[in-house]
Assembly symmetry: C2
Homo-oligomer: 201 residues x 2
């Protein structure tokens, strides 16, 4: 980095700049913001970093991130253990939980099949999903991967894989977003909305 800056500040800015979406300018700004905070606050930040890395691991059942032996969703006997929603990452679990509507369990793949990026099916948590389904408790698997090339491909791949197990496999509905307008919808979304039209009761 050109210009004069104290070395520890420069090193801290470099650490921030390694994070996704943070350029050198923002990283510098963040480094300055850190040193203007109190000792206790900076220590709390450093501890949060270390503890997140140290205490978080994968739930042995759904593969989501958790600090517990079994994540609270898998451990919840009130939820419907016959329903499993397959998602790309932990953020998707968070998004679906925010709807407050879904009462089943999840399975986190930690990625989507993308041969171009070297992500083949064996790099995802598919083995764990199959082992889980062998238990016989699961009746339906909902594919909730994104409506992208990789998301669709992964959903198709899994659907074919699960077919012989006699488990119902469904996919999230696609169509116009609520509050969206036809005018601004892209062609593919509009086509899907037409294709998946439902009867008005």
């Amino acid at each position: 980095m050109a210009g004069y800056q104290a070395l520890p500040l420069e090193l801290l800015a470099e650490e921030f700049a390694k994070l996704p979406g943070i350029g050198l300018k923002s990283a510098q700004r963040l480094a300055y913001a850190v040193i203007s905070r109190s000792d206790e606050e900076v220590e709390r930040f450093a501890n949060a970093l270390l503890s997140a890395k140290r205490d978080i691991h994968f739930c042995p059942c759904c593969q989501n991130l958790t600090e517990l032996d079994l994540c609270p969703i898998c451990a919840d006997s009130q939820r419907d253990h016959s329903l499993v929603c397959v998602v790309e990452g932990p953020k998707d679990v968070s998004a679906l939980e925010r709807t407050g509507e879904y009462q089943g369990l999840y399975h986190v793949l930690h990625g989507l099949i993308s041969p171009i990026d070297g992500i083949t099916p064996d790099k995802l948590r598919i083995r764990e999903l199959l082992a889980r389904l062998k238990g016989g408790e699961v009746q339906e698997v909902i594919m909730a991967t994104n409506p992208t090339v990789e998301g669709d491909a992964t959903a198709m791949y899994l659907a074919q894989l699960l077919e012989p197990l006699g488990i119902k496999v469904t996919r999230l509905a696609f169509g116009l977003p609520v509050g969206g307008t036809l005018e601004y919808a892209d062609e593919v979304t509009l086509f899907r909305a037409l294709e998946n039209r439902t009867a008005m009761s």
Copy 2:
């Protein structure tokens, strides 16, 4: 935060969200990015935080941030110690150093006078500047605060304060930015460019 998330991850995201310009969504994304890195990398990040906070203090001469007893600029005998450039913050020192043109010293105010925000002159490092000028070595003080209301007010205030000391006080030139066009220059910039027009040699 709604949705399900492991607790240590949530705490880490909250720490990120306390930084300027980082919202809850970005903070979550950064927290995920951290735990996907290696133990060593996360430790290096945590140490960079702690060391920046612990090792950095104000240079007793120019008040810039440094980890040394005297900052490298003040300690450099090759630089012109009769010239002091007054700036708002450490970032401005960095910006001016990047030009590679300035050979004098700096004085960092750590803010600008802004009574609305409760920043009165006694909150800035003005006392330290006056003490420094009493040494008699400094011949010229360049006001390099931003061309904003606060920057101009601070420059004016300091100029009046330094007048009785018999030290030459100058201000950075304002005008069209190099590479800029008249069409897109704002009225104040254009007015200043007209006002400060120079003879073509």
